[in-house]
């Protein structure tokens, strides 16, 4: 399969690989997917007192498109508010990475991951709308 330049770039040089302390009250964790389906994404965000995402980390088990989708997402969410981050659409990710139709589910997974991470921190902080 031919990959787009952008997928290859994120795959060769993934941004923000790593792990944040998921016990911390400033960290929201979203883990989505399943090993049996061939992809699992763990996306974590570090959020300051103003509700701004200061840092983001990911680790992904999956194909190149799944890795690229999560890597791109960590770049996009930094500096955003929780609500802005949760509003990111999978179609934007798919478009930016020029994902072929069979790989759209990778971008859907990335959208699910950020929504789950935002929900996690909102629950931790006792906010509504989680």
């Amino acid at each position: 399969m031919a990959y787009s330049e952008k997928v290859l770039d994120h795959y060769e040089n993934p941004r923000n690989v790593g792990k944040l302390d998921d016990k911390s009250n400033d960290v929201g964790t979203g883990m989505v997917g399943a090993p049996a389906c061939g992809d699992v994404m763990r996306l974590q965000i570090q959020v300051n007192g103003d509700g701004i995402i200061e840092d983001a980390k990911f680790k992904t088990y999956g194909c190149g498109s799944a890795i690229a989708s999560s890597s791109l997402l960590t770049e996009w969410v930094k500096g955003k508010t929780l609500d802005e981050a949760a509003a990111i659409k999978n179609t934007e990710i798919a478009e930016e990475l020029a994902l072929p139709p069979v790989k759209i589910h990778c971008s859907v997974l990335a959208e699910d991951a950020i929504k789950a991470a935002v929900a996690d921190i909102k629950t931790k902080r006792g906010q509504e709308g989680a």
Partner: protein
Amino acid sequence: MQTPIYLDYAATTPTDPRVVEKMVECLRLDGNWGNPASRSHVFGWRAEEAIEEARRNVADLIAADPREIVWTSGATESDNLAIKGVAHFYQRKGKHIITSKIEHKAVLDTCRQLEREGFEVTYLTPNAHGEITPAAVAEAMRDDTILVSLMHANNEIGVVTDLAAIGAMTREKGVLFHVDAAQTAGKIEIDVNAMNIDLLSISGHKLYGPKGIGVLYVRRKPRVRIEAQMHGGGHERGMRSGTLATHQIVGLGEAARIAKEEMALDQAHSAALRQRLLDAVSDIEEIHVNGDSPKHLPGLLNVSFNYVEGESLIMSLKDLALSSGSACTSASLEPSYVLRALGLSDELAHSSLRMSVGRFSTEEEIDFAAQQIHTAVEKLRELSPLWDMYKDGIDLSTIQWSAH
């Protein structure tokens, strides 16, 4: 050493230069390009002579009589012709066929078609080593069984079937025995008489011959009858009409001749390289050999690296040409049905790599490949949340995953 390195001999082999030379002789203007069915002039006679020499070479390879060799377009056609041909000819005798879950699609889809036509098919499950045992075949036999169709070696895991034991049984019961030998013809010994094989499929492009040519062996004594699929000029004793492709046939004949002559050499070479590769990667943590039967093809190795996904692994190994059982490399998004039939978890099936070496592979290539695999697995595990969890001692089977 040139990259990418070819480690996909089970998909197709390069054509041996000696084969190419023979083929070209049949294509040149001053060469042997006549129609072998032309009986009235020397162009036809010469072409027919070349065809018959090729037929002898293929027959010799499997200890058959040249009159038992039918030319086809490849193993897919041979499988179709054998299975549908027998089913349609013998349907008044019975409508039950035995095959296995790990057959090539050329066999499985043919059987599915026969099911739609009212035949009944039993699909045997391999044991955990990937073997279809004679005992499993015996258990599935019924009074109305007309055909057992099994592969000699599986194309994904390379496990070799005990044909002699199964052939003895089918012969005793008067059931026909078809063998898909696409992966083994020219690679390991086949004796259609000693093994009591009635029909056998061969593909040219898996034994250093050209693509688009194959053989169906059809036994004469006791005589096996098949209904033709392709009707026309009555070539190949009516079993497969169509003008014979002299250059393809001559190519396969030469490939068979070389394979028989050099089998011991080829086997030793492939087996040594496979072992070298396995030795060089076996220190990687959480590596699993799929189809770990002692009876396997000399040059094929299928391994899974747990917690690493196959497609991304292949993407990292861009200097290596190999294949994966991962869903993402197939159109269906389902992991390999062969690995699943072995009882492998979806995770391990997604993490599999098939590497196959052959006549033109070198030690230098294997060493390079092993080193690339080390680097890639390390990199991807660094990226893998599952590897993190494994290292933290978390049992992944206890986690509630969100299936999607």
